[in-house]
């Protein structure tokens, strides 16, 4: 049985290339999900960003989109570590990448008390322009198509960030560039 499997998958042309797989996806709960979790230490930021980068490369996102998605992930994880878990290394952060045919949804969850997004100062307000902080979520909202914060019933804060795949493929990069 193993031998048969081996033969099948070693000798068949298994296409690891982007999206071919994603579109064949059916209805299984956790299929197409990658989850990574780690203690609240800033030194893991690079690792998470590299994961985001590998996933968006696999999905064939254009370079700019990959950059901004990676930055959004980085900003969210920074917030989870700093504001959510308050640098308590005993608390964890979970990042989930949900790959579906038409969108990439990224969840970042911490073990903190959460916050009320509607109370955040607007960084574009002239009085806030020179503040040394308070731009992270604004950037995330700019780069992602949909961003939602929620305090979880089981405790902790979760941000859900969605990037749709339409005109985000490399083949559309030219169109993208023109649009910017």
């Amino acid at each position: 049985m193993d031998a048969e499997l081996l033969t099948r998958f070693r000798y068949d042309d298994y296409d690891l290339k982007p999206l071919g797989d994603v579109t064949q996806r059916t209805n299984s709960a956790q299929k197409g999900e990658i989850e990574i979790s780690f203690a609240s230490e800033l030194r893991y930021l690079d690792i998470i960003q590299v994961v985001s980068d590998s996933i968006t490369r696999m999905l064939n996102f254009d370079d700019d989109t990959r950059y901004w998605v990676g930055m959004s992930v980085r900003e969210s994880v920074t917030n989870a570590i700093l504001h959510g878990n308050k640098m308590d290394e005993g608390k964890r952060v979970w990042v989930r990448f949900d790959l579906s045919p038409d969108r990439l949804v990224i969840y970042v969850r911490d073990q903190g008390a959460g916050f009320d997004e509607s109370k955040l100062p607007n960084p574009l307000d002239p009085r806030n322009l020179l503040r040394p902080s308070g731009r992270g979520i604004f950037y995330i909202r700019t780069f992602m198509d949909d961003v939602r914060y929620s305090v979880l019933a089981e405790g902790g804060m979760e941000v859900r960030m969605e990037k749709r795949l339409n005109n985000k493929l490399k083949s559309d990069q030219e169109g993208e560039a023109n649009a910017n």
Binding site: L45, R131, R135, Y139
Partner: protein, 112 residues
């Protein structure tokens, strides 16, 4: 992150190499600016051409540098913004706050 310091026509140019992100570079930049201001060097050009990555915290750090220098009656300008940094500044309406240049000669000249 590494900062190289040089002087051109009386203007201090800081060549920043590497990343300006949460936990990286803030201390170095703060110390360097403090040192310069104490020495009476108040005209400073930040060369960001070799900066590889900036996050929202790094943008905040640039703003801090700007206010620190301005509050002491100095001038801080930016040189060689990467495309990404330019975009980050633009999104948060900071391009109008910072004076920035593509050309070092012009940047130096602008202090005159």
């Amino acid at each position: 992150m590494r900062i190289d310091t040089r002087t051109t026509d009386g203007i201090t140019v800081l060549d920043i190499h590497g990343r300006i992100t949460i936990g990286e570079g803030s201390v170095e930049m703060r110390n360097k600016l403090r040192e310069l201001l104490q020495a009476g060097k108040k005209d400073i050009l930040l060369n960001l051409g070799d900066v590889s990555y900036v996050d929202s915290s790094g943008i905040g750090e640039l703003v801090s540098c700007y206010t620190t220098v301005t509050n002491q009656g100095g001038r801080l300008k930016l040189l060689h913004l990467t495309k990404k940094v330019q975009e980050l500044l633009a999104i948060t309406k900071l391009l109008t706050v910072f004076e920035s240049y593509e050309d070092e000669k012009k940047a130096i000249g602008s202090f005159k």
